[in-house]
């Protein structure tokens, strides 16, 4: 059985990386039936069969999802933790928004320095050719669910550097952007409005997270 078939879940497959596939060829399969002794990839397969398929078939998943969705959604909505990542001018306004005058922390916006702990990537400046692969990596390192805010003209479409040889014409050319905030630079109030817009978007669009594929 190939790896593609083992992991129906694309999200989980992405996290495993290539190292496990090497070890899968070397190590022997433990006896089946005892799920406590399974390796991680086998465990995921077991979960797929034993839990997900059953929950899907019996309709339990939909029911639980409908019940837990508002709870998940509420939690996501009021804790959009952005990545502490500054590119240009708007990074200072991002800092000012987190400062004592505007204090976005009261909206649950807590800046984290590791992309693993973050939900929101704020692209707050022009994306240069040298930065683009790094920014893409940062985006991919963030755990689902994740959102991207394009803050300022540069991130939306190049801004004053529209005719530069090294600036990418907007962040949405390589990562999906959820909220665009115009301005050059974006004022802290506008960033707060952007977060409120993102909350609205999460409230309206996000499905439940119970056994979500």
């Amino acid at each position: 059985m190939s790896r593609q078939q083992v992991h129906g879940n694309p999200r989980l497959r992405k996290g495993l990386g290539s190292r496990t596939s090497d070890s899968a060829t070397v190590m022997e399969d433990p006896p089946s039936g005892d799920w406590l002794t399974l390796r991680s990839d086998q465990f995921l397969k077991w979960v797929d069969e034993a839990v997900y398929n059953v929950a899907e078939k019996t309709g339990i998943r939909d029911v639980v999802n409908r019940v837990t969705r508002p709870i998940f959604n509420w939690g996501l909505r009021y804790s959009p933790w952005p990545l502490h990542f500054g590119i240009m001018c708007c990074a200072l306004e991002m800092g000012a928004a987190g400062g004592p005058d505007h204090d976005t922390e009261r909206m649950g916006v807590v800046y984290r320095s590791s992309p693993r702990q973050c939900d929101v990537l704020i692209v707050n400046g022009p994306v240069c050719e040298k930065l683009r692969p790094k920014l893409k990596t940062l985006y991919e390192q963030m755990a689902d669910p994740k959102w991207v805010i394009a803050m300022g003209e540069c991130a939306i479409g190049g801004g004053p550097y529209w005719d530069s040889y090294s600036v990418v014409a907007g962040a949405d050319t390589f990562i999906p952007v959820d909220v665009y905030i115009p301005g050059c630079p974006v004022r802290p109030e506008a960033l707060m409005h952007g977060f409120l817009t993102l909350q609205k978007k999460i409230r309206e669009q996000e499905p439940g997270y119970f056994l979500r594929r």
């Binding site: 240009m88 200072l92 000012a96 400062g99 790094k134 550097y161 050059c184 630079p185």
Partner: protein, 364 residues
Amino acid sequence: MAEMWIHMGPQHPMTHGLWNLRIKVDGETITDAEPELGYLHRSVEKIGERRKYFMNTTLTDRLCYASAMTWTHCYCLTAEELMGVEVPPRAKYIRTVVLELQRIASHLMWLASYLPDLGLITGFLYGMRDREMFLNLLEIPSGGRLLYNYVKIGGVKRDLPPGFDAKAERVMQTLERRLKEYEDLYDNSKIFRMRTDDVGCYSASDAINWGITGPNLRSAGVPFDLRQADSYDAYPELDFTPVTTSAGNGRSDCFSRYRQRIDEMYQSMDLVRQALVKMPEGKVMAGSVPVRARGEAFRRTEDSRGEALMYLIGDGTDRPYRWKIRSPMFTTVSAAPHFLKGYKVADVPAIMGSIDMCIGETDK
């Protein structure tokens, strides 16, 4: 022990911008370092050749976003030299006032970003709070919060409104009171002193050789200030001497660089007061500013971070033929391997924070 390279950046809370510091460590001791720039290279010099002279102030504002006024001013000074424009006296004084206010705002920004690195998160909150006062002050004449586009070729965009000096005085009195608080808070903080005293040392002669300028050089006891050495605007008519600090024996360490910027804030407030008192009446914009220019010119100014130099070549059209920017942090960060060697990995935020990186001007 095996040596290895550690990447700090481009996304790292230490960097305060978008650059990558690769350090080679032997255990915990840094044996080599290599800064890597270019993640914010917007090619300002090239696209500046496609814009008209007066349009380029948009780009210079965004060169260093923590100190937008000083960079636009440097560009306008160079363009005025190139075009032979005489700035009215009142505009010179207004420029001096806004430049010094900008310098205070920039140093407060530095304070707000440096202290959290050393475990004093209070520094961020206090620094940002006080910076807002100066941003609001600069917003009064210019209309912009962070990027002003206020200094123009031939003068300034508009006159200071009535009552500006009273507002400035009130803000500066508040800051003076608070700076004394900060000195009590930080200078006597044992943690802060342990992390900054005798860390990131370099001697004055080394600093000159490496091309370090500005507060980072003055903190080694060298009284070199372009506001006097290559004076411009209203500075020749103001009474001041460059402030210097030193960690002893003509050396600079993180603490002396901190002290230097605090002292410069006091000096800037003094300069603003002097300029507001001496300010003459009159126009704020030169009568006629040419669109085309031929020849070459350069001017250097004392930016918040060191020596800013711009070199303009005009070929008789309305756009510059070549525009070259000297960024003070570009040379300072190139010297980083020299003053990082021998210290521990945990000292990197303290050392690199203390030189006040601004990546916008560095990458151009």
